[in-house]
Amino acid sequence: MFTEEITRLIELLQFPFMQRALWGGLILGLLGGLLGSFAILRQLSFFSHTVGHAALLGIVLGVLLNLDPTLTLLPFTVLFGLGVIYLIDQTDLWSDTVLNIVFSASLASAVIALSFVKSYQGNLMNLLFGDILAIRYGDLWLSLAVLIVAIASLGLTLWAQTLLTLHEEMAKAQGINVRLHQTWFVILLSLAVAVAIKAVGVLLVNAFLVIPAATAKLLSQQFTAFIVLSSVIGAVSAVAGIVTSAALNVSSGPSIVVAQFILFVFAVLFSRFNQQLKRDR
């Protein structure tokens, strides 16, 4: 039972593309878990969803301009993210209303722009659902750089970021430059979305940010433990998803998301069981 799958998996692990995919999953899982932990508490999950879908427009623009889409994607997502925050600030509409408008407009623009593309060698399915097995060393280094910048900047400003997450007005009263920290976080979030697109695609990129963090939130009582656990769950589910996809010969991006979802369901059941135990004591 499973002998054939295990043999194939061992063979696959010898290939550099598989090793790159595992490193990519590890790095992106850590990055998504780290940023996602702050993002879900600040109710930014729909924001990252919008940026993820708008990334399609960034990729298409790169193709139209005959540039490497990775090069256009990063500045595009950052500018797009900052633009969305500016629009939210400039209106008295609810942020999810503005996000819905921008989400639809950017997706529509991407589809129109796509119709001008004469020949695109990339696969549309890879854009939508990602292919971490196709990740290159350049992508790995880029993801690692974003992860290091995220760890360093959030680590050094952990006090400000935590207080800002808990209560914005108290953060302002403590002299924290709230606008600066919020803007920087949006830039980090946009960069994370951009580098994760290749692995899980436009449609599933938000899962990298939301599911590990939501899972960790169900299991944590401490803030620092929550951030660490979210990152670990992100990394473990990514590696588990890649290994499973290789063993069963199915798509890698969706496999990672299914692995994240399974962990989430276990966390729900575990937290319910834990609450019941406490009530019974």
Binding site: L163, A173, Q174, Q221, F226
Partner: protein, 253 residues
Amino acid sequence: METVLAIEDLNVYRGAYAAVQNVSFTLKAGTDTALIGPNGAGKSTLVKAILGILPRHSGSIALLGQSVDRSRHLPSRLQQQIAYLPQNFLFDRGIPMTVAELVDLGWGKSGLRLPWEARPQRVRAVQEALAQVKASHLINQPIKGLSGGEIKRVLLAYCIVRPRRLLILDEAPAGLDFQSEAEFYQLLNQLKSDYGWAILQISHDLDIVSRHCDRVICLNRSIICQGSPDTVLLPENLVAAYSPEFTRYHHNH
């Protein structure tokens, strides 16, 4: 007594509306001052302008003798001298955070620092602050399980976890039971008498104000009157500040 805060001719607008007009007062070290007035009188706006959360249109603010630039937020050195508890401490009750972590946030300072910087001093300061508010037993509790009264105590510990000179409370004791309220004011008395803190508190409870505060500022966009509770909490002043229908005034002198 040293002047902790000096406000001169302060004007604050919310949009086109003049929410605070020509307000001047000083707070001395070791005093507890109540800011009273009807809803919409500009009390919270005034406090936010002092804290640099809202910009001021004109007037001057000096903290510990240092004038605060109108175009900027308070310098971080001065900001560290102020503790503030907002009126509505609404937060995601599901946020995974312990009482110790919340109180530790009050110890923080602006700028870059490693998360483990001064860890032993911070741990000790958190323990002492929680002991002062009689909440040591809550130290490892998650904040999502706390009652309203426990949250108030923990937030007060957040304010006192490091030495300050000015404590600003926006209806902080509201919702506390009689015993907790008495302990709350006992602690405030200790802060002002033993450590020389100046306290500015927004309150709607005139009975509490008359019993616990040294000075009262009656505000309705501009200052109606200010002075000791005996001289300010008079029916004619309160009618002028609140409305002609203001008749149900009781306090125990």
